[in-house]
Symmetry: C2
Subunit: 409 residues, 2 copies
């Protein structure tokens, strides 16, 4: 099945919004083994939208639109698509009831504009919106299927996961399952070189992904049922993990930080962090995950030398003798924040995030435990400031997960 | 001039990367008064890329491609476009010299793959890459202009700003200038209603933008020269600022945090922050800005009650009597972190970011100065966790900018 994602919204063309919906839908379709061959973005313009729909219909089996389902006069997706597929719009009573309930729950008043949102193309399947007012729908027209989703990312992704993916799963006949193996400590090119032989597989398939400082592979199998898919994937996953060893930080976890919190939970270990150049980024990433407070006690952002002295009782002489960006300073920050918060492990990060500084990209990350202290020296080179901070925080998380899984830190 | 942005890269269609290039190029073209009517994303596939180029050429005056200029065998943009426009590729000596120098500076070796990057279509204008190896180019074909940019966002945006925008400015004959007026404390719909009459203007134009918790308008004028543009915009900007009053937090600043750092600098005021539910996000946003350490001393992430006691010497009884999410606790956090870091102003944030908690979305943000303490109560409602944290941090920044500009906090 080939798919095109068609995002509707002038705000996307003005550069006001970045198109995360297309990325999220692509990730989801990849899990189902659906090939996405085009992303198109068009404005709130019926003529151009119609042109795009005709083209999509000629080249894709599955068209997923986002946006244009709202209550304002700019919201034109349903009318335009209904006309393109020669369908009338009718008032869907279930959709209407959902919208009334949404407003009642929030003590807000329902307007005529919101009434428009309950109109759907004839013959379409209504998709409930579990976090907003606009229902989506699926319109089937011969061999072509058109799924209309709301634009706001949370509404779009929720409707996609809750209602569209089950529909697509049923269509494919076969069952498709996948697992994501996640690596830290290797670059994308090197990973693809090492796993080259796996990437030619037909079933399961192995596809590479990369993001700042990390990379991963999705292993996808197609079978008659879930057990068959798992049986096909298991040996491939085992072989990949053997080949990549310590570089594997997790399977199917959403991020390094999520993996770290899982491990802190499993090992009943508490954590505190002391950050200088990362300025709160490490704590923010950890606390992004609900339930972090069970094991993350808190931390300090000691952005100046004086702050290090005041909050961590650091010795000014130590800083003067070694330089603020040095191994002894990182180690002391980690040990002191552990004491200050009373945690099992402490992390300290000090470095030059740039663009100014003696040695931009030089960062020391330390992990202190009851048993001792480990320090990692990073040289991030001529990278932009946000990247240096991200790499430093990710390395801290990697050191924690290695420590908690008994690997060399 | 109508433009299409054509992004080349299978990783975009797999959902591995989100297309920030299209957003950044759209923002830049909007500054120049160029209409972007389409974004298209296609994979590393010559046939589909050719089809997309032919369509773009028929409907747009300006085509900006991103991606596919790298050294691997998947990088096909130049060859495919050269073929579509019936041009040969030739070795550009300046490009070759630049690439050699890039590798020499970094002590890395140059390979044959990198040599491919120095080949450009006949008759095209070479665009130097100030942060990577792949030069871009501009190919002019009758009424159509094709700009080829690298995919990696930093390389793309740098080449666009340094080399493409001056080229486009010259083309347009007229000079176009714009200013961005930024608001905090009003929603997008309300802003558009208040500024309705301005949005119908022809020169200058006024276009609305919104992002999580903020909104802004871009005022754009076209004239014979820069002074004429500024003269056209000045009364409109003044009227908008009059109408929006305190809600205006800055003009042409990149963010609330950037504005706050400017003001801390102007007023020679130092800042420290104590965060609970925002978990480091406020400190991270502030320290994202280079030079933050001149006025941002640091902070604490007191994620548990015990951390509040240990790091801020908070009174357990105060927490017990009022609840950890309360006005007195927020105020005390702000006062205590001010003392602990020795800063002029301190901020304290305590709230329920969810999804668990007594009253999800309830947040107290406090600002303590020598003169007193201000506390703002927020109710973010049924918003997702990341949004509640973001709104809380943004409100803290808004309180600081109001305090520093002598407004009601």
């Amino acid at each position: 099945m080939n798919a095109e994602i068609l995002s509707v919204g002038t705000e996307l063309l003005l550069g006001g919004t970045v198109n995360t919906d297309a990325r999220d839908i692509s990730l989801a379709l990849a899990e189902l083994g659906v090939n996405v061959y085009w992303h198109t973005v068009v404005g709130d313009n019926p003529a151009r939208l119609t042109e795009c729909i005709y083209r999509a219909r000629n080249r894709a089996d599955l068209i997923i639109t986002t946006g244009g389902l709202g209550p304002t006069c700019d919201d034109l997706t349903k009318q335009t698509l209904a006309r393109a597929f020669d369908r009338k719009l009718y008032l869907n009573e279930d959709a209407l009831a959902d919208i009334r309930e949404y407003f009642a729950e929030r003590g807000r008043s329902f307007t005529d504009n919101n009434l428009r949102q309950a109109y759907l193309p004839e013959g379409s399947i209504m998709l409930p919106n579990d976090c907003g007012t606009a229902p989506g729908c699926i319109l089937e027209d011969g061999p072509v299927r058109v799924v209309m989703l709301p634009g706001p990312p949370r509404e779009c992704v929720t409707m996609l996961r809750n209602h569209v993916m089950p529909y697509l799963q049923k269509l494919s006949g076969a069952v498709i399952r996948s697992h994501m193996i996640r690596f830290f400590g290797i670059g994308e090119s090197a990973m693809e070189t090492r796993l080259r032989s796996f990437m030619d597989g037909a079933n399961p398939t192995v596809a590479p992904y990369s993001r700042e400082g990390e990379c991963w592979v999705r292993v996808t199998a197609k079978g008659a049922n879930e057990a068959e898919c798992e049986a096909l994937m298991a040996p491939v996953i085992e072989d990949i993990c053997d080949k990549m060893g310590d570089l594997v930080y997790g399977i199917d976890c959403a991020s390094l930080e999520e993996r770290v919190l899982q491990l802190l939970q499993e090992k009943n270990t508490s954590l505190a962090v002391a950050e200088s150049c990362t300025g709160g980024l490490l704590a923010q990433r950890i606390t992004d995950i609900p339930g972090a407070s069970a094991h993350f006690l808190g931390g300090v952002v000691t952005y100046t030398e004086d702050a290090k002295v005041r909050l961590l009782d650091m010795d000014e002489d130590l800083i003067a003798e070694n330089g603020v960006v040095s191994m002894p300073v990182a180690a002391k920050m980690a040990k002191r924040v552990r004491k200050a918060l009373g945690s099992d492990i402490g992390v300290g990060i000090t470095g030059w995030a740039g663009p100014d500084g003696d040695d931009v990209g030089l960062v020391f990350v330390a992990l202190a435990s009851r048993g001792g202290c480990f320090v990692r020296r990073l040289q991030c080179g001529h990278a932009p400031r946000p990247r240096i901070r991200l790499i430093a925080a990710s390395n801290a998380l990697d050191m924690i997960r290695r420590y908690l899984t008994g690997l060399d830190v």
